[in-house]
């Protein structure tokens, strides 16, 4: 098998160029999808027969929660690639994606809490999903804190990778134990995000929003990674030329 493409993928210069080319696509896709999804979800989707209009929060809560979980898995995958193949770009991806993941869990938690008020009558309920999301946020904090605490850049990336992998093995265990704990303590209450057979007018905008969130993540991640690559490669001639060109353009 030919692995050159894989190693090319690890080349910072290659990523910088390709990323620059992809960025507008992801950016525009995110903007359009988010706009369409929001308008559709807020104004056109039918209201829920039980929850009324508060259910419209689903169009940000669920995509953010999805994304927060996927990003954590992505961190672990990037960590594995970084540890096994010593790919520097994977290290960059890991450290740049973690804050975005933390913000996404924050959005999911906050919208969950706001949604909980009209649904359960309390700002915070120890619902299994919300609790798992809170724990996920703590896991993100751990990775970010560890990355900040270790001054050596390569060691920080490797340490975060190990932590992310340990975390990702733990996530299913945490999820199941929390769900099980929840059923034990408050038997089968009304679950906000599990709708039996949602009609298409309801889930189509949801799908659009999920896609929009993923595109948004891709765009922001590429932006952050390109900057970080430029910083790390500051000694390489292509990076010097690029910085010089950018500086002249802005001046």
């Amino acid at each position: 098998m030919n692995w050159t493409w894989f190693h090319k993928l690890g080349s910072p210069k290659w990523f910088y160029e390709i990323g620059g080319r992809w960025l507008p696509w992801f950016g525009w896709a995110a903007a359009i999808l988010l706009l369409v999804g929001t308008v559709w979800g807020l104004a056109f989707a039918p209201q829920d027969y039980q929850q009324g209009n508060s259910f419209r929060i689903i169009y940000i809560h669920v995509p953010a929660a999805f994304l927060a979980q996927s990003i954590y898995v992505m961190l672990a995958a990037a960590g594995l690639v970084g540890l096994v193949w010593k790919m520097k770009l994977a290290d960059v991806a890991l450290q740049q994606a973690a804050p975005i993941g933390a913000w996404m869990s924050f959005i999911a938690l906050l919208t969950g809490a706001v949604w909980g008020k009209p649904t359960w009558g309390a700002w915070w309920v120890w619902d299994a999903r919300l609790t798992s999301m809170l724990i996920l946020l703590f896991l993100y904090f751990g990775i970010i804190a560890l990355g900040q605490a270790i001054s050596n850049r390569d060691s920080a990336a490797k340490a975060c990778a190990v932590l992310a992998i340990v975390g990702v093995v733990n996530i299913p265990i945490i999820k199941y134990s929390v769900e099980w704990w929840n059923t034990l303590h408050q038997p089968a209450t009304f679950k906000i995000t599990e709708k039996p057979a949602m009609p298409a007018e309801m889930w189509l905008p949801l799908l659009v929003m999920v896609l929009g969130f993923y595109c948004f993540f891709a765009a922001v991640l590429i932006m952050r990674m390109r900057l970080e690559v430029l910083r790390r490669e500051a000694r390489a001639s292509w990076a010097k030329a690029e910085v010089r060109a950018l500086v002249e353009k802005h001046a």
Partner: protein
């Protein structure tokens, strides 16, 4: 290879025994935290009994975490870890011996102290076997997971708080299962299910975490 395991275990045991104060500190911490609660929530035995499963477990969890902060620090500072890394033996095996020795001397003592504190909180004697067994199965998981964090933070000047931040979220399943077992026993329900789950977590962590600990130490040593 198993020879080195036994030798390291003996050496760690000897080291721990020559510093008895450090062994006692987590135990005293455990007892003090438990004693704080009746002072904070009031001495009504009904209330104390109902919260005691969670209380004993949270206190045990914090005590284990506290004792782990320095797990690898002295080995890191005096160069022992470098010797482990350059040795022909798998690092995962060496760290397993180290963590096992640490658990036998601090975790086990914690487990043995717990029934006494349980009685003080008003746990009926019939639940004490479950308390003992749940801690016996759960504390090795706490030690092993905590050792991953200790390995990752060993090179940092002030790793204690960071260690807690990294590791406490990972402790949640053990906390849920352990206190769940005790709660079930308190309500007269069978606790075998919880204990079996705890046992499988123990088996899982004994097999997997040594590799993560070894990876963490290699990273910290290579910094």
């Amino acid at each position: 290879m198993s020879n080195v395991f036994a030798l390291l275990f003996r050496r760690e045991a000897r080291l721990l025994c020559r510093r008895p104060a450090e062994l006692a500190n987590p135990l005293v911490f455990f007892a003090i935290v438990i004693a704080l609660f009746p002072l904070a929530v009031g001495p009504e035995s009904q209330l104390l009994q109902s919260i005691s499963p969670g209380l004993v477990w949270v206190a045990a969890l914090l005590a284990v975490l506290l004792s782990l902060d320095g797990l690898f620090r002295s080995d890191f500072e005096d160069g022992s870890l470098e010797q482990w890394v350059v040795s022909p033996h798998p690092l995962a095996l060496l760290v397993l011996a180290k963590v096992l020795a640490h658990w036998v001397f601090s975790g086990l003592a914690l487990v043995l102290l717990a029934p006494l504190l349980g009685l003080m909180l008003g746990l009926p004697a019939s639940t004490l076997p479950v308390l003992l067994l749940s801690l016996l199965l759960g504390t090795p998981v706490l030690s092993l997971l905590g050792a991953v964090g200790a390995a990752l933070t060993v090179g940092l000047k002030r790793g204690g708080l960071l260690l807690a931040l990294l590791i406490l979220p990972l402790y949640i399943p053990v906390l849920i299962l352990g206190s769940g077992a005790l709660q079930a026993a308190l309500q007269g329900l069978p606790a075998a299910g919880h204990l079996l789950w705890l046992a499988s977590l123990t088996a899982l962590s004994v097999t997997l975490t040594p590799f993560a600990i070894a990876a963490g130490l290699t990273i910290s040593v290579g910094e």
